[in-house]
């Protein structure tokens, strides 16, 4: 073989290896995505049972004239039981409990919310889609097999027969599960939502940004523009690079020891979680910011200095604005990393059952990744799809943040 043929063959082989590597990694990503999407998509729909609801004034403590506050405070448990009796006439006590279990436990809340929105409905009959319980939902979706022995099922044979008769009458349907986006965590899988964790992550990231961005920017400006390079800056540089590579759990320990232990900050709040994530993001921001400050040509600085600007004016009027796209890109990528971090949250207690949606950085909260972890630990079958749906949401936020980072760089970047 001639030398040319050999070299061309080598090139061909190399191309093939490259293709193979790429296809393999794509294949794994696809498997992962398929697994997540196929289990997670179920969380976005929920099974409902169609029923005629007579808002019997005898079972409602409030009237059409009551204020919204009174309506929200009243109990609708009796009304819910009454609705089941009407739609399934002739049940004895034992069977009534079985049928009641097919509907969501929060049935009375659903009725309450409906009355609150339509106070005039009292005394009238309305056709409503009522949410099924999670156990029934999982059977209908096929996530829990119905052909196993009765003792191994949470929905027994009697309930299955009711389900089949409802189904044959066309009463079973599916609706979009908006609760997943508007509710906090719950131990009833059908009403569990991600909003609490989302707000927890939002507050934590807000703290993280407010802490890490100004400090990171100032530190890098000082290091790049004001200090003469020397031994000390070298030591600092090595340390910053080092810190960027420290595993996140170490920052969690720092937060636990320093912020909670020494400063007595509260446990499981976004304030502490955000500060810890801020420590973690700080080196990333400093490195990105220094790199982009270095990218601003010296002629800009010299021009400003030549017309009589002070060093500070030069930096703040010219250098920082020009370097901002790079800094922001680094910051967004750092924040995206922080959003997906679980280990530091674990150590500062942001892994907990929290039902109430946090209203600020001082309220107990979980973060998105820790909520996913908690759901993955739960025994109920209904949480399996919630886990995957949570991952889908987290992935889409990461994709959005990283896309914004790319767009910011494209849009604002100045070519010299």
């Amino acid at each position: 073989m001639s030398s040319l043929e050999k070299r061309l063959a080598a090139e061909k082989r190399f191309k093939f290896y490259g293709m193979f590597a790429m296809t393999l990694s794509l294949f794994f990503v696809l498997i992962l995505m398929y697994k997540i999407f196929s289990t997670g998509s179920g969380a976005f729909v929920r099974t409902t049972i169609n029923a005629d609801v007579y808002f019997d004034p005898n079972f409602i403590e409030v009237s059409s004239n009551s204020s919204k506050k009174e309506i929200m405070k009243a109990s609708y448990v009796d009304l819910a039981d009454q609705v089941i009796n009407q739609n399934h006439p002739g049940l004895d006590e034992e069977n009534f409990i079985k049928v009641r279990e097919m509907y969501t436990r929060k049935f009375d809340y659903q009725l309450r919310d409906y009355i609150a929105n339509n106070p005039n409905v009292i005394g009238k009959t309305v056709n409503l889609d009522i949410s099924a319980s999670s156990d029934l939902d999982q059977i209908v979706k096929g996530n829990y097999p119905r052909n196993v022995p009765e003792a191994q099922r949470k929905i027994n044979d009697y309930q299955l027969s009711i389900l089949d008769s409802l189904d044959s009458k066309g009463k079973m349907s599916k609706t979009f599960n908006f609760w997943f986006f508007t509710n906090g965590d719950s131990r009833d899988p059908e009403t569990a939502g991600i909003l609490g964790a989302l707000m927890g992550s939002f507050y934590a990231l807000l703290i993280c940004f407010s802490f890490a961005f100004p400090i990171g920017l100032l530190a890098s400006v000082y290091l790049e523009e004001f200090v003469k390079p020397g031994k000390i800056t070298d030591i600092i540089e090595v340390n910053i690079n080092n810190l960027a590579a420290v595993p996140s759990i170490v920052y969690g320990l720092l937060g636990l020891g320093m912020l909670i232990g020494v400063f007595g900050m509260p446990y499981q709040v976004p304030l502490v979680g955000g500060l810890v994530l801020g420590f973690m993001t700080l080196p990333t921001i400093i490195i990105a910011s220094r790199a982009s400050l270095r990218g601003v040509p010296p002629s800009i600085r010299e021009g400003a200095l030549a017309v009589g600007a002070t060093k500070m004016q030069t930096v703040f009027h010219h250098v920082i604005p020009l370097s901002l796209p790079g800094t922001l890109t680094g910051t967004i990528i750092g924040m995206a990393q922080a959003l997906g971090e679980t280990a530091p949250l674990l150590l500062v207690g942001m892994v907990a059952f929290v039902m109430e949606i946090p209203g600020g950085a001082f309220d107990p909260a979980t973060g998105l990744p820790s909520q996913i972890y908690l759901w993955s630990e739960s025994a109920e079958r209904g949480f399996l799809e919630k886990t995957s749906a949570g991952i889908m949401l987290l992935l889409s936020f990461l994709i959005i943040m990283n896309t914004v980072a790319v767009l910011v760089r494209r849009k604002l970047e100045v070519k010299w």
Partner: protein
């Protein structure tokens, strides 16, 4: 650009600090991941009754005790869940930190199930057989040797020839402590030869015993992947995964709500929550939480905790614990005494008595 940045920062700071500060009106629970499903369901019910819904941080029984015993004050947890009784060592920890008023609430029973995939053949085991499969050192022909067994039928010819492989909980887990006490120590054959119970709870280290995290769902997945594998966890996980797993009968008894409640099933154990009495009245709802947890609605025949796997206690104990939660009288449970290994029920003759304040 600079100005908008500043306004954003100011806005961010004001949003964050407008929220309430450090005082707490929401109960903070830590502790066992076995108690987590029950504690959180109960927390949700408390939330529905008008209180703020408590938070529950599942850091394990041991971790929970450590956090709970760290001190008195709003920055420390109010309640800890435990899947085994408080140890004397932990009571000392509480004493040293000034946590002297603790109320013990024993509220239900749970059974540790030794389970595997229901695609495999069912197992009927004794505790001695489980010990022999899992311990580092066992007795063969009257001598203590490194565990030589590779398959179950080598231990007992009537068992299937499955390889020995068991997934176990981490050392911080109360389930592991309980399993070690109920099975490894109870089935231990070393004592007869060596005269001491040293080494009874040492698992073998040749790769047949695999330590998992606190995540029981992961254990369930791993058991389904390989039908010859075994794992142990609380009864509620078995109940929710009845389509995938089967429990082994132990000493001829199948784990069920009844056999656990009567302690006929040898791996039954009591579950606890511990209340910090000094917090009652400071953080609202602590007493109500405990009362709800032991109410008939929760642990009665069709109770909301019974339905997800908690087994009720005998009537004597139920009445006793209701008395405790209603009067907030610890009925003889005292941290200082517990640190000395004393407990009012220690000589009461219950199956779990010897494990109290150990």
């Amino acid at each position: 650009m600079k100005k908008s940045m500043l306004t954003f920062l100011a806005l961010a700071v004001s949003v964050l600090f407008s929220a309430e500060t450090f005082a707490r009106d929401q109960i903070n629970i830590v502790g066992s991941s076995t108690v987590y499903p029950y504690g959180t369901v109960n927390a949700q019910r408390l939330g529905e009754s008008g209180f703020k819904t408590p938070t529950y941080n599942p850091i394990g029984t041991g971790g929970g005790m450590k956090a709970f015993c760290a001190g008195v004050g709003v920055e420390f947890p109010d309640i800890t869940g435990a899947s085994r009784p408080m140890k004397a060592k932990e009571a000392k920890l509480c004493l040293e930190a000034g946590v002297t008023n603790v109320i013990e609430v024993m509220w239900a029973n749970d059974g540790i199930t030794f389970s595997h995939s229901n695609e495999a053949e069912p197992f009927s085991l004794t505790r001695e057989e489980i010990f022999t499969a899992m311990a580092a050192k066992v007795v063969v022909d009257g001598e203590v040797v490194e565990n030589p067994y590779q398959t179950w039928n080598e231990i007992n010819p009537s068992l299937p020839a499955y390889k020995i492989e068991v997934l176990v909980a981490p050392p911080t887990s109360g389930t592991r402590d309980a399993f070690d006490g109920k099975v490894m120590e109870a089935g231990c054959t070393l004592e007869a030869v060596t005269g001491s119970d040293d080494g009874c709870t040492d698992y073998r280290e040749d790769g047949k015993i695999i330590e998992m995290g606190e995540n029981d769902t992961l254990i369930v997945q791993k058991l389904v992947e390989d039908p010859e594998r075994f794992g142990y966890f609380g009864y509620s996980y078995l109940k929710d995964n009845g389509d995938k797993l089967q429990p082994s009968t132990v000493e001829g008894v199948v784990p069920s709500a009844e056999s656990i409640a009567t302690y006929e099933y040898p791996m039954a154990r009591p579950l606890f929550i511990y209340l910090k009495a000094d917090h009652i009245g400071v953080v609202p709802g602590i007493q109500e939480f405990a009362q709800m947890m032991v109410s008939d609605e929760a642990i009665g025949d069709n109770g909301y905790l019974t339905k997800i796997g908690a087994a009720p206690m005998v009537p004597d104990l139920i009445n006793r614990v209701r008395n405790v939660t209603d009067s907030l009288d610890a009925m003889g449970f005292d941290i200082a005494a517990c640190a000395e290994k004393k407990h009012p029920l220690k000589d009461a003759g219950y199956a779990f008595s010897s494990g109290l304040c150990k």
